[in-house]
């Protein structure tokens, strides 16, 4: 592989990875422009009846936590109270464990950042390894070319063509 071809291939793969990332990030629901509704607030809170579900999903219709919580949320949303204020009123009463997901401040930020950080680091490692391996192959290819003769080249071209047809 020529140096320019190699660079262009690298550029393409990096572009591909960048595009994939962009696509992923844009697909993140956290970037969605959402309007406040009772369901959204209910989904932000974990039911305390040990069902392990959110207040919205708790299937115990006579649940001592979810039922009054839903009523409170509906009333407050009806009064035009902001989502954050409603959620904070529950946190003040029951503690942070009432939230269905970690907050995005302080130590809790680590919960959100670490998976993506690990993914980015992993992505860089995978990219670097791929580049190194493809460079090794390119060097190997260059050595093979040095010892080639017209007949070998003809066979190599034919093999490449057939493999491309076979594997594509």
């Amino acid at each position: 592989m020529q140096k320019s071809e190699y660079r262009s291939a690298c550029a393409r793969i990096l572009l591909f990875i960048a595009g994939t990332f962009l696509f992923t990030i844009l697909s993140l629901p956290i970037f969605a422009n959402a309007t406040v509704n009772p369901t959204e607030v209910e989904e932000s809170l974990t039911c305390q009846c040990s069902c392990g579900l959110t207040v919205h999903s708790c299937n115990h219709l006579q649940c001592s936590f979810a039922v009054p919580a839903k009523q409170t949320i509906a009333e407050q949303v009806g009064q035009g109270t902001a989502k954050e204020v409603i959620v904070q009123s529950f946190v003040a009463k029951y503690g942070e464990k009432v939230l269905s997901a970690p907050t995005t401040v302080g130590f809790n930020l680590a919960a959100w950042i670490t998976p993506f950080l690990a993914l980015i680091v992993g992505g860089i490692v995978v990219s670097l390894i791929s580049l190194r391996w493809s460079r090794q192959r390119a060097q190997q290819g260059a050595k093979e070319k040095q010892v080639s003769d017209p007949q070998t080249n003809a066979y190599r071209d034919r093999l490449k063509k057939e493999l491309d047809t076979f594997e594509s």
Binding site: A9, P29, L61, A118
Partner: protein, 666 residues
């Protein structure tokens, strides 16, 4: 009979110690007789554990309530199938069941390899027996299943009503089969590391075991989802509960292994990485067991909080230290000729796929253990629930779906611009058409359209692979279409079986997208004769029917379902009261079609006012999750079929039987 069970477990423990020692000693001193003796002892361990399982089943079926386990998890009125399921319904029984499956698999592996892999097998036996020893140690010394009470209760406490469901008779065994079969590739990996036989023999030998593990983990997770959907009554199938997470994490790493192992087989690359994935998958199965039994993280699935956590954690840490230590020791010999012909190749796409799958496993692990970390660091208990996992894993899942479509259309070694253009055309057109079609049918949500378009893209990629292969056979061999398609698959079951699995994955994503973004929920209290509207359905509550037997009393609502003024069905959502545990449960009424599920729950019923509270969900496209699951399972079966080369090798292989004198001569 229970005394026999206790004795059998004690004997199994002693035999497992003997099998481990003899196998290692025999291998180290190259004494075939000792190795054979160790193998025979491993077979005997299976026999002993089988006796213990039969003894516990006998105690359950004969209602021997003097046995603490029987008294805690069954009753005289429990139906037979659930009495049998009680074997894995509690802590002790499930540990015994786990050990039983492990010894069954050990026996199969030893029998399969009695004339093969002679250098690896003693260490495989030893590794499997060490794992068995850990569980047998628990059963003998920490949590004995045949423990007796000081008195005999007249009646048992019964099995948890949530477990009295037919899916529950299948879901735990499937998961256990998946978990335990991961021990076999792990044992071979350890044997390869110890002996230094690091070629692809251990990989080839264990490929089907890795597939088996993946197969059962897939079934286990799907059945678990189905159970949650039908029993828990919240209209969903996956809640990112810690124990659900524990079951999906090894599935992610096993999926990564099944892809990366192809690169090792084809190009002798990624030897270290494959070892890491095998070790990680096994470690995650133990971690999952630790989660359910330690009480560290609260979950609806957990067994009663017990003191088993530290033992499992110790075993897990020792496993990681020993296996990673061996891996580190063998690193120089594991260096492979890692070369990529091009960054635009299937190998590179598989590397990306591994990156995302391991990323998903890590994100799930991180979210699962973060509450514990938070408590350690800040002293504050927090919850990491579905919103976190949906936001973190959701985009990764979409990325994985995208890569599922990329893999088949990129050639091995190097993809030329021309081949990329040619191979991407059909998938891209399919993706656009798919998205547009769903949009026209009313599925108008940005994320849903993105996912559904990607589903079309992947489906198009798979279709074009089948189409081109079939066309090529027709052109060269003049076969008709069905013949060409059939032979295409049978000549390369691994490749095309894998594509069928991907079709299953696509359908699962369609089901997830439809049921996540277009779900309709209604909750209302009705008197007889009153109706409610949910989507295109009109539901008329007609009244309550009561029934009762010795075991359970049932209140069933009668709900007439109409569409456009025409009655199409009558549903009977139930509220059940299991008498022994005095615990009410819901029995969902389901009307399933390919278009959508109508899911009705009877929340409560007030007899004086005749007021019934109904919770109604309309879940679009949800059935495709189960259909996709079935296709995924069928595809996995296809990949496990022997290839023509394997069939030929099998047919030509001479059957070598070693006589006693030959063994003695060693």
């Amino acid at each position: 009979m229970t005394h026999l069970g206790t004795l059998a477990l004690a004997l199994a423990f002693v035999l497992a110690v003997y099998a481990t020692c003899m196998s290692v000693w025999g291998a180290a001193s190259r004494r075939e007789m000792w190795i054979a003796s160790g193998t025979n002892a491993a077979y005997a361990v299976f026999g002993c554990v089988l006796i213990a399982v039969v003894a516990l089943l006998h105690a359950l079926l004969t209602h021997d309530f003097n046995v603490e386990y029987v008294s805690s998890y069954s009753s005289s009125t429990l139906p037979v199938q659930y009495t049998v399921a009680a074997l894995w319904g509690g802590q002790k029984g499930s540990l015994l069941f786990w050990t039983f499956i492990l010894t069954v698999f050990s026996t199969i592996v030893l029998a399969q390899n009695r004339h093969k892999n002679r250098e690896l097998m003693p260490y495989v036996t030893a590794t499997l027996m060490v794992i068995a020893l850990f569980f047998l140690g628990m059963l003998n010394f920490i949590t004995p299943p045949f423990e007796r009470l000081a008195f005999t209760p007249k009646e048992g406490s019964d099995l948890n009503p949530l477990l009295q469901n037919y899916w529950m008779t299948l879901h735990p065994p499937s998961l256990y089969l998946g978990y335990v079969s991961a021990s076999v590739p792990f044992a071979f990996a350890i044997a390869a590391l110890i002996t230094g036989k690091l070629g692809d023999v251990w990989i080839r030998t264990t490929r089907r075991w890795a597939l088996t593990s993946w197969f059962f983990l897939s079934i286990g997770n799907l059945l678990g989802g189905r159970w949650a959907y039908e029993v828990l009554g919240w209209g969903g199938y996956w809640a990112w509960d810690p124990v659900e997470n524990a079951a999906i994490m090894p599935w992610f790493t096993a999926s990564a292994f099944l892809h990366s192992v192809m690169i090792q087989e084809k190009k002798n690359m990624l030897k270290v990485w494959n070892m890491v994935l095998v070790i990680l998958t096994f470690a995650l199965t133990i971690f999952g067991t630790f989660l359910t039994r330690s009480g560290v993280i609260s979950s609806v699935h957990s067994f009663t909080q017990s003191g088993l956590g530290p033992y499992f954690m110790t075993f897990l840490i020792l496993t990681l230290i020993v296996s990673l230590g061996l891996l580190f020791y063998r690193l120089p010999e594991l260096k492979s000729e890692n070369e990529l012909d091009s960054l635009l190749s299937r190998e590179a796409a598989f590397l990306l796929n591994n990156w995302v799958l391991v990323g998903l496993a890590f994100a799930t692990f991180w979210g699962t253990v973060f509450p514990v970390l938070s408590e350690w660091v800040r002293g504050v208990k927090i919850t990491v629930g579905p919103p976190f996992f949906n936001k973190v894993n959701g985009p990764l899942g979409v990325l994985l779906l995208f890569l599922t479509g990329i893999g088949p259309v990129i050639a091995w070694r190097r993809a030329s611009a021309k081949s990329l253009r040619r191979n991407f055309t059909i998938p891209l057109i399919a993706g656009v058409l798919f998205g547009a079609l769903f949009f026209l049918f009313g599925y108008r949500n940005y994320y849903a359209v993105v996912i559904l378009s990607l589903c079309g893209f992947v489906a198009g990629a798979i279709f074009s692979e089948f189409f081109r292969g079939t066309r090529a056979r027709q052109a060269i061999l003049h076969e008709n279409s069905p013949q060409a398609l059939g032979r295409l698959v049978s000549k390369n079951p691994r490749r095309y079986g894998g594509y069928i699995v991907h079709v299953g994955v696509v359908l699962i994503f369609i089901g997830i997208a439809g049921s996540t973004f277009f779900k309709i929920e209604k909750q209302i209290s009705l008197k007889p004769g009153e109706t409610l509207e949910a989507g295109r359905y009109t539901l008329k509550y007609e009244g309550i029917k009561n029934s009762e037997d010795d075991h359970v009393s049932v209140q069933a609502a009668v709900v007439a379902v109409s569409v456009g003024g025409r009655q199409i069905d009558t549903l009977h959502p139930e509220k059940r009261l299991y008498k022994r545990q005095n615990q009410p449960t819901t029995e969902v009424a389901l009307r399933q079609t390919l278009r959508e599920d109508l899911y009705v729950v009877l929340g409560s019923y007030d007899a004086p006012s005749q007021l019934a509270t109904l919770q109604v969900f309309v879940n679009p496209l949800l059935s495709w999750i189960w259909i996709g699951g079935i296709i995924l399972v069928l595809g996995t079966c296809v990949t496990m079929m022997p290839s023509p080369a394997e069939r030929q090798a099998f047919a030509q292989a001479p059957v070598k039987v070693r006589t006693g004198s030959e063994v003695g001569a060693d």
